[in-house]
């Protein structure tokens, strides 16, 4: 039994990979059809199952935060709950409101879910063969396709022909468009160091620089995380579906599996944004100790497949940690109001992202070798790529922190001074102002004989 399992796990991928390497007559098919199809099937299967279990996880996490148990009935610890939910949603009556635009109504969830799933193709899940397509514009592709996702929400809101849906769609389009800018700006700093848009390339760049870019770009990471929350409509930015105001926002009129498609889109875009954050800022599948030849000092290990599996596990772990943080935020914080959300996006995140780009650029140029116009000479050219030296790593970490602290402080102070809504200092003072009055008692208690005549 174990032998079969080991064969399946370790030998089979090697065999498929070997098909592509050896110059056989069927190499083209193996490389461009057979292997990608296998990869796509695996990724889809894993991600869709993961989405179902993320819902379960969300319920469990929220339950533990709220002193409850969460789903416990279906299967041990409620582990079969996602299956039961999926089955229920499949069997539900498919309702399309009479006054809805039927075609668009049916199309909207499909657009959403497709846009969310397509980007899975370029995410580097692990080392070696664990990426479906390693294209050189990976990150741009992700940004482009995921902004198509907002179309699904807008169309859903419009086609439902309901006012709540319309308001939800209005909110989501405005929100996603403005947060996409912050998102796009926040990643540029990290791209300056990586000097490539290929997702695998970014991870390899961090490997070559011996550092995760979160240390070079703390501000970029911060802005990215907040923008990603807004981009995926997660709390505290879940205005498009704010259930206490808009019932369910853009998917008010949806039920059954069409509704589930929106849900899948939301959770898979959560995975995608977390995966981008991991790739760009947290070193992708890298973890100190997990290398091609040894696992935490155990080794030497010659099996490259084992390394790939380990790297996928590392990647998954990092993604899950970020997703846990998302859930944590959701169940702890209240919800922003629409105008406050816009203010945060335009007055806070976008200026921060822009300032980050400019300052990072200046510090980067200063660190270049003199031959290239720099001053400090903290970078070397290694196989055609500029890599910071040991001192250079320290320099970039220092400047990254130096950018973050005063910039965050400056923005907070500035925003607090300018805006009534953000005036946190004055708001904190209010608590002191509540006074407890010792009211003097009236002279007479209410007469117990009343007004009886």
């Amino acid at each position: 039994m174990q032998g079969i399992l080991a064969t399946l796990m370790f030998v089979a991928p090697d065999w498929v990979v070997s098909l592509t390497r050896e110059r056989r007559p069927n190499a083209f098919w193996a490389e461009y059809v057979l292997w990608p199809v296998i990869q796509i099937l695996i990724v889809l299967f894993v991600i869709l199952t993961l989405v179902a279990y993320l819902v379960y996880l969300e319920r469990k996490v929220s339950a533990f935060i709220q002193a409850r148990l969460g789903p416990m009935r279906v299967g041990p610890w409620g582990l079969l709950q996602p299956a039961a939910d999926g089955l229920k949603l499949l069997l539900k009556e498919d309702i399309i409101p009479l006054k809805a635009d039927r075609v668009v109504f049916a199309l909207a969830p499909i657009i959403s879910v497709v846009a969310a799933l397509v980007v899975l193709a370029v995410i580097p899940w692990g080392a070696a063969w664990a990426t479906i397509a390693n294209i050189n514009i990976g990150l741009l592709f992700i940004l482009a396709v995921s902004s198509v996702g907002v179309l699904g929400l807008v169309l859903a809101g419009w086609a439902s022909n309901s006012k709540y849906s319309l308001l939800g769609a209005l909110r989501s389009s405005a929100q996603m468009v403005s947060y996409e800018i912050g998102l796009g700006l926040s990643i540029i700093g990290a791209l300056m160091f990586a000097r490539t848009l290929s997702m695998s390339g970014i991870v390899e760049a961090q490997q070559a620089d011996h550092v995760w870019y979160v240390f070079f770009q703390p501000l970029g990471f911060l802005v990215y995380l907040i923008s990603a929350l807004g981009e995926t409509n997660r709390a505290p930015f879940d205005l498009p579906e704010a259930e206490s105001e808009l019932v369910a926002g853009y998917h008010t009129e949806y039920s059954g599996f069409r509704w589930a498609l929106f849900f899948m889109a939301e959770y898979s875009s959560m995975i995608v944004t977390a995966a981008i954050a991991v790739t760009l800022f947290l070193g992708g599948w890298m973890l100190p100790g997990v290398t091609g030849t040894s696992l935490f000092g155990i080794g030497p290990i010659q099996n490259s497949t084992l390394h790939t599996f380990a790297s996928v596990a590392v990647f998954g772990l990092k993604v899950m940690l970020l997703i846990y943080a998302y859930m944590w935020f959701r169940w702890t914080w209240p919800r922003y109001r629409y105008d406050q959300l816009m203010e945060l996006g335009w007055k806070w995140l976008i200026p921060a992202g822009l300032a980050n780009i400019v300052l990072t650029g200046i510090f980067y140029v200063l660190a270049l070798p003199p031959a290239r116009g720099g001053v400090f000479d903290l970078m070397r050219e290694v196989s055609g790529r500029l890599v910071p030296t040991g001192k250079g790593v320290g320099y970039f970490i220092l400047t990254g922190t130096a950018i973050t602290v005063p910039l965050v402080w400056l923005l907070l102070v500035n925003i607090n001074r300018r805006s009534r809504d953000f005036n946190l200092h004055d708001q904190r003072q209010l608590q002191v102002n509540l006074r407890r009055e010792r009211l003097e008692k009236a002279l007479q208690p209410q007469p117990s004989d009343g007004g009886t005549q």
Binding site: A67, L424, E437, T452
Partner: protein, 377 residues
Amino acid sequence: MQEQSSATGQETLFDAEEMVLNMGPQHPSTHGVLRVILKLDGETVVGLDCDIGYLHRGVEKIAESDTYAMITPYWDRLDYVAAVSNDLCYVEGVEKLIQVEVPKRAEYLRVILTELQRIASHLLWLGTHAMDIGAVTVLLYAFREREEILKIFEDFIGARLTAHAFRIGGLWWDVYPEFETRVRDFLQILPGRIEEYETLLNANRIWLQRTVGIGVLPAEEAINLSLTGPGLRGSGVKYDVRKAQPYSAYSDFEFEIPIGENGDTYDRYLCRMEEIKQSALIIEQALDGLPEGPVMAKVPKVLKPPAGEVYHSIEGPKGELGVYLVSDGTGKPYRMRIRPPSYINLQSLKRMSIGHLVADVVALIGTIDIVLGEVDR
């Protein structure tokens, strides 16, 4: 854009009209079957109207054909999250009418139960208000503590929600032996739990942004709208029936009344949180000084109050809860009129909402703290 359109002589650049949005009667955050008709310009509220009556049961009319004792259960079902307070109002009103002196022990127990009910009602308010603004977790925390109070009620009264605690002339039974220790146990855990809510909300940036400066009611306007309860005190008016016209045994206890300054949603929130703490203080004092003795006064089996009229009001969790009873000398009231604080406070919604956004309307419905059973009667 305005200049441009005036230059071309057009009213607006596009055909734009205000959208009318029906919020309710089935809506997650109108706290029951309140229907709010909103006129929206984008998301800004330019007009608002409340449509009530979906839960109208005609309690005041029913009362005219029931005996005085039979009416009491209807009062449990007015403000169904604060049944005990409602009972106190009616029962004391009738006692005033028939001029019965209630034993001291009964009065103290009434104060304990009513203040427990005030805590329970404020906890429910806190949870739903926070949930309307998006902080779902507070709801579950608040319900955890409310559950303890409901258990104490259940063991004494038999019911959890519509707890029919009092009878005309006192209490039907004395409390069970462990009552005191259980209430004391609850009071022991309460301060820590309140601290938990305040950690989640008090200095939370989002919470502050959503509540500070929202729905500001100056003191004068609050009085003009005849607001009572935390809504009035949040605007800085020093009025609490427990102090202004002490009823039951309230004149025996030392407690303070929290007063807000700015009259916004945040001040009303702080006031209610402080009221919970003050209620706990009152209960402690009442338990310490709980006298022995009977809990029921001598009341005739068939009540026939002398002809006359009486108005009695108490400080309910939501404001001044009053009853006006007219007796014509028979066993049934000639007229019973309820002064429901929720209903009267609700009229401030229009004044507070206009100019704010849809999201604020939800927060404002929460801050008024309405119960539709009481609004519609």
